[in-house]
């Protein structure tokens, strides 16, 4: 199949355009179009999974066309073992989310059109191999997300502390924060553009493969201080997306105010773009800067802070959705820690964790949505004894919670354990103490998940909820497939790991072999 990446990226755009021609009243037709096209996208993703040669190095399914020849900008797409899991995750969660959005009644056309555009933007980010194109996709995601949170999120309200919060506030916070980060990315991108020589034409280039080849770096890129500054700028841009402490406060707001499906996408896919960006851009393009110990230890320490700080904050939350939001911060810290050790085990663990957190947190947010749709609130203390009232729902929550607290048999256990092991065994840096302190996070995580479970599901049933209906078929359809994946990859992670291993080990080798003479390291 030719141009599979173009198809998988632009199918949602076709659907979005098609939806515009559907009359406003045919809501189910709009939903069905979205479902069919994201379904096709998922089929393509599975096709890619089947046809991707995991043992081969480099990029596959490449498409390269001149786009703006005057500036040597290309439409350049391709994927490797780092992108394939993300492509699968995006396609899978987008499809699931269409069904999680089925109950949206407010301007259905607009919602699904926006959602599909978002889908296209995410897919594009994971497939783009031209930095300019990458940047375009990165920014394309922002606008639909802004509207999805702002319009379909919760309405504006004034909190007791006088702050105006709600969907519009969260949307603009998310938008501005990300935009602020992208400016730094833009600067770094332009420095690359002007200081990397296209090996063929000798001109400027945005081609990521050229950017990754250190031989093409000329001009100010030979100045190590500039390289460090560029690394810092890129890190800032990506860190906001992860989000890394202290740039994380947009996340709880955005998650809490967004509709369920948007929270799922936000936590499931968007957060991964931060760490994806680091691995796709910062690590291979500035490998020597990554070996600068202040950056490596800095990343590990920020990972540690994310893990513990996120877990403590989660424990203190009264709103279930906010708790899940903070747990995301904690779990993304493990990704940072795993990456920072520059070992194949840690790197593979970290990228597995990106995928597994995507599925696990998606389950959590969907489950929060289920109870919110029934009880119309999310206060943990307001429930109690739901286990007998909603046994199937309780079973799914316990799967999601146990997966969240890293119980063996669930996918996140594998990725967490190997992220820790990889960081601990790092030969490039001594991260042993940082890792050991980080593992304390798993106690706190067990604490808040079990405590929440007890408060909501155990004990006597709160009589207010004596007729709360059990989870329905559509909701089960969104949750069960994720649960199956979470368990399968927990028992046998090879299908996921085999995809990424070759590419990630090459990346680890590249960074470890980086020429650090500019740095003065030996």
């Amino acid at each position: 199949m030719d141009n599979v990446l173009t198809w998988i990226t632009f199918l949602p755009v076709i659907a979005a355009v098609a939806i515009l021609f559907v009359p406003q009243t045919s809501k189910n037709l709009v939903r069905s179009i979205a479902a069919v096209f994201t379904g096709l996208q998922l089929v393509l993703a599975i096709w890619i999974y089947m046809n991707f040669d995991a043992a081969a190095s480099g990029f596959q399914f490449m498409e390269q066309v001149k786009w703006i020849p005057a500036f040597n900008i290309e439409y350049f797409m391709g994927i490797d073992g780092l992108s394939v899991p993300m492509v699968l995750l995006t396609a899978f969660l987008s499809f699931i989310c269409i069904f999680a959005s089925w109950g949206i009644e407010k301007s259905v056309k607009g919602y699904f059109a926006m959602f599909l555009l978002l889908d296209a933007g995410m897919m594009g980010v994971f497939c783009a191999l031209d930095f300019f194109l990458f940047y375009i996709f990165w920014e394309v995601m922002l606008l639909p997300m802004y509207f999805l949170i702002g319009i379909w999120g919760s309405p504006s309200r004034t909190d007791p502390d006088g702050m105006v919060r709600g969907g519009p506030y969260a949307a603009i916070k998310f938008f501005l924060y990300t935009l602020f980060g992208s400016i730094f990315m833009l600067i770094a991108m332009l420095v690359f553009y002007f200081n990397v020589q296209d090996p063929v034409t000798g001109g400027h280039t945005f081609n990521m493969l050229h950017l990754m080849d250190q031989a093409n770096h000329v001009g100010v890129l030979d100045d190590f201080n500039i390289r460090l500054l560029m690394y810092a700028a890129l890190f800032l841009g990506f860190a906001i997306k992860v989000p890394v402490f202290p740039f994380h406060t947009w996340l709880p707001d955005a998650h809490v105010e967004a509709p369920t499906a948007v929270s799922v996408i936000l936590a499931g896919v968007l957060l991964k773009m931060g760490t994806y960006g680091m691995l796709r851009i910062s690590f291979p393009m500035l490998p020597d800067a990554m070996k600068w110990e202040y950056f490596a230890y800095g990343m590990a320490i920020l990972g540690l802070i994310n893990i513990l700080y996120g877990a403590f904050c989660a424990m203190a939350q009264k709103d279930l959705k906010k708790l899940v939001a903070y747990s995301s911060i904690s779990h993304m810290g493990i990704v940072l820690l795993g990456m920072s050790g520059l070992t194949s085990m840690g790197m593979n663990g970290a990228v597995m964790q990106m995928f597994n957190h995507g599925t696990g947190t998606a389950m959590l947010f969907l489950l929060v949505g289920v109870i919110y749709d029934r009880a119309h609130h999310r206060q943990i203390e307001g429930f109690g004894g739901l286990a007998n009232q909603m046994p199937i729902y309780t079973a799914l929550v316990s799967i999601a919670f146990f997966a969240g607290l890293g119980l063996p048999g669930f996918s996140s256990f594998i990725s967490e354990a190997f992220s820790f092991l990889g960081a601990f065994g790092s030969e490039a840096f001594d991260l042993r103490l940082i890792t050991i302190i980080s593992t304390l996070g798993i106690v706190i995580t067990a604490g808040y998940f079990l405590w929440t479970f007890q408060r909501m599901f155990l004990g006597e049933l709160n009589p207010k909820y004596a007729d709360l209906p059990e989870i329905n078929g559509r909701e089960l359809f969104t949750l069960v497939p994720i649960a199956v994946i979470v368990i399968l990859l927990g028992v046998y992670p090879a299908p996921l790991l085999d995809l990424m291993r070759t590419s990630l080990n090459e990346l680890v080798a590249v960074v470890n072999a980086a020429d650090t003479t500019l740095l003065g390291l030996h």
């Binding site: 702050m163 916070k173 501005l176 924060y177 402490f245 202290p246 994380h248 406060t249 947009w250 700080y309 403590f312 904050c313 424990m315 203190a316 939350q317 194949s344 085990m345 593979n348 004894g385 286990a387 007998n388 146990f402 119980l407 063996p408 048999g409 256990f413 594998i414 354990a417 190997f418 820790f420 092991l421 601990f424 065994g425 042993r432 890792t435 050991i436 593992t439 304390l440 798993i442 106690v443 706190i444 067990a446 604490g447 808040y448 079990l450 405590w451 007890q454 599901f457 155990l458 004990g459 006597e460 046998y492 992670p493 090879a494 790991l497 085999d498 291993r501 070759t502 080990n505």
Partner: protein, 659 residues
């Protein structure tokens, strides 16, 4: 044999899967499925065990199978099963007791609203426990370690409508996790240094000196932290007494016989990697635990709590055995304890079933009503108290001998032996106290007594079987035979000469002294308990009043729970709240502040733009317009005015030219 091992592991898992999904719809809610799977596992374990005995060699590997599991490219993580003497031995103990507890549960849990769920969880536990003893690597041990933890969580909180049960489950899981973090750190050290999780490869690496000295000691102590949690050792023992909230058969199987012994098993499995320093640490933790828990057990009034503290104490004994070099002694006590403590718990369950109370104040005189329960319980009691020739005597004696031998060789550590011996005496005392308060004398609650009755066959048969197993002069020989102490040197490839430390003389004399002294303390304990609680020559109440501070200290279990609540639990919650406030007020405050600042600046800018820049523009315009309006007045269209103005102008020019 490997097929047997795989089936032993898979059968309970299969039972769990079926039970959890369709258990309720099966005939009899599927109790036969879980029980059958367990009995089948037992029958499959028998040939393995026979093989181990018949074809005995010190490092005989009965079966082994390794599968590729995770491949990182440079590192392959395998997952495999290993059946050696220790595994064969553990398999038979676990499958046998688990089968009996399954049978017993059919009677005990009859009519429970979540009957099928109970058996599902029990199967999950059996699967996890069997996995724990079958895997061939530390990572696998950690995996199953966590899984037994979660089965324990589910079963402790089985009656989750009760807040106390839900609390106890959570407490057990979280307390265990604290130990598990340490254990994981230990595994990280092993893996980072030796590049493998596999037992044999790890031991070989250590034998070759790839990991040694302080780092090895630290790794050993960290690994042992897992055992501190799982085997309820000081200072993480607090979860086990609360775990008695679970159904009694669960207490017998998980919280007395098998899971809590997992820590002991793990120490035994990894025995060769513990340095002398690490072993000393283990011994001291063990002796502190043994003494502390035994003293608490003296004053408890809840029959299951007495047994729970007794379990903690006995696990401490096992650790003392292992820590002082008595590898065989520690693991032997694991076995005998598993049988007689399961017997005692099931017996107490039978009593609770009859009187519907766990308080010993509601019991008394039950001997006549429940003869089978009484006699079997008595056998368990004398075994635990260390009366020859019952099994507990032999194993406890072995531990005391080991502690004494260690003390004789290292006189500064003789205290381990003394305190352990004292704890053995206390054990006999509190157990006899329990028996007298429950079965002897006059019934204290006539109402409850009148309803009491002997339990059904499904419950009394397991009791009888366990009672037979607790009578065990035949034990010592084959256990010593099967569980020879492993030697690190044998992993080095070349067999090194074993340095003879103390020689046989010390061991021999230690054994004799230990045996005599243990008989003396046990009989003193029994005598004292009989004087106080049967003959009533000494009043427990009077002495309780006289020793009020000590009594209070013991009654409140040395205030561990209160201390942990005040420090760790509240500290954590407090920290969480503080950080959450910090997050929303400070960090987010900065973000919102930046936003407000920007908005404020832009307002200022707007005002400047409006009043300043635009004001200037408008100002110029205004001035021009104003002057235009004023100048407009000049153009009157009246010719005389123009002439007049021209005249003034000429005059003005002339005047100016004068200067």
């Amino acid at each position: 044999m490997i097929t047997n091992a795989i089936l032993i592991l898979l059968l309970p898992f299969l039972a769990f899967t079926i039970q959890i999904f369709v258990g309720k719809r099966l005939p009899r809610q599927g109790d036969w499925l879980s029980t059958g799977a367990m009995i089948a596992a037992f029958l499959l374990a028998v040939p393995i065990f026979v093989d181990a005995i018949v074809n005995y060699q010190p490092d005989y590997i009965i079966a082994q199978q390794t599968y590729d599991w995770i491949n990182f490219g440079d590192i392959q993580v395998t997952f495999g099963l290993l059946v050696d003497n220790l595994t064969a031995f553990m398999l038979i103990v676990v499958t046998l007791i688990s089968s009996l507890v399954h049978l017993y549960s059919i009677g005990y849990m009859h009519g429970d609203s979540r009957y099928s769920r109970y058996f599902a969880y029990l199967s999950l536990f059996s699967f996890s426990m069997l996995g724990l003893i079958l895997v061939d690597n530390f990572f696998g041990v950690y995996v199953f370690w966590e899984l037994v933890g979660v089965s324990s969580y589910l079963l402790i909180g089985f009656w989750f409508e009760k807040d106390s049960a839900a609390d106890a489950g959570k407490k057990a899981f979280i307390t265990n996790r604290i130990g598990d973090v340490g254990m994981f750190a230990g595994i990280m050290i092993l893996f980072a240094t030796l590049g493998t999780f596999n037992f044999n490869e790890v031991f070989t690496g250590i034998a070759n000196g790839e990991l040694s000295g302080t780092m090895l000691t630290v790794a050993g102590i960290l690994l042992f932290m897992g055992a501190i949690g799982k085997s309820a050792q000081f200072p993480l023992h607090v979860w086990l007494p609360d775990a008695m909230e679970g159904p009694t058969p669960v207490s017998a199987l998980i919280h007395a016989a098998t899971m809590v012994a997992a820590g002991v098993y793990m120490v035994g499995r990894a025995y060769v990697l513990f340095t002398p320093e690490a072993l000393l640490f283990i011994a001291y933790i063990g002796v502190i635990t043994a003494f502390m828990a035994a003293t608490i057990a003296i004053v408890q009034k809840d029959i299951k709590r007495v047994l729970a503290y007794s379990t903690i104490s006995q696990l401490g004994f096992m650790m003392v055995g292992l820590g002082t070099g008595g590898y065989t002694a520690g693991l032997f006590h694991l076995t005998t304890h598993a049988f007689f403590k399961a017997l005692l718990f099931l017996g107490s369950g039978s009593v609770i079933h009859a009187v519907h109370s766990q308080e010993m104040d509601d019991m008394g005189g039950l001997r006549k009503k429940m003869p089978i329960t009484f006699w079997t319980f008595l056998i368990g009691t004398v075994s635990l108290s260390g009366v020859p020739p019952f099994s507990g005597f032999w194993s406890k004696d072995a531990i005391l001998a080991s502690a004494l031998e260690f003390g004789m060789l290292n006189p500064s550590h003789l205290g381990i032996y003394v305190v352990t011996l004292l704890s053995a005496g206390i054990t006999a005392f509190y157990m006899l106290r329990l028996v007298y308060m429950t079965f002897a004398g006059e019934p204290r609650d006539k109402e409850k007594y009148s309803h009491a009755h002997e339990s059904p066959m499904t419950m009394t048969i397991p009791l009888s079987v366990l009672a037979v197993l607790s009578v065990g002069t035949i034990w010592w020989g084959w256990v010593e035979h099967l569980l020879a102490k492993p030697d690190l040197a044998s992993y080095a490839g070349t067999v090194l000469p074993v340095p003879h430390s103390g020689g046989h003389d010390v061991a021999h004399s230690a054994h004799i002294i230990a045996m005599i002294s243990s008989v003396i303390v046990a009989s003193s304990g029994i005598l004292l308990a009989t004087t106080v609680y049967y003959w009533k020559k000494i009043s427990a109440e009077t002495w309780g009043r006289r020793l009020r501070p000590i009594y209070n200290l013991l009654w409140n279990k040395y205030y561990f729970d209160e201390f942990y609540q005040a420090t760790f639990v509240n500290g954590t919650l407090w920290k969480a709240r503080l950080l959450a406030v910090f997050d929303s007020k400070i960090i987010d405050g900065v973000v919102n502040g930046a936003a407000k600042l920007t908005v404020g600046l832009s307002r200022l800018n707007g005002a400047f733009d409006m009043r300043g820049v635009d004001g200037l523009v408008n100002g110029v315009a205004t001035v021009i317009a104003w002057s235009g309006a004023r100048l407009r007045l000049v153009q009157t269209g009246n010719i005389q005015n123009y002439i007049l103005m021209a005249l003034f102008a000429v005059i003005a020019i002339i005047v100016i030219q004068q200067f």
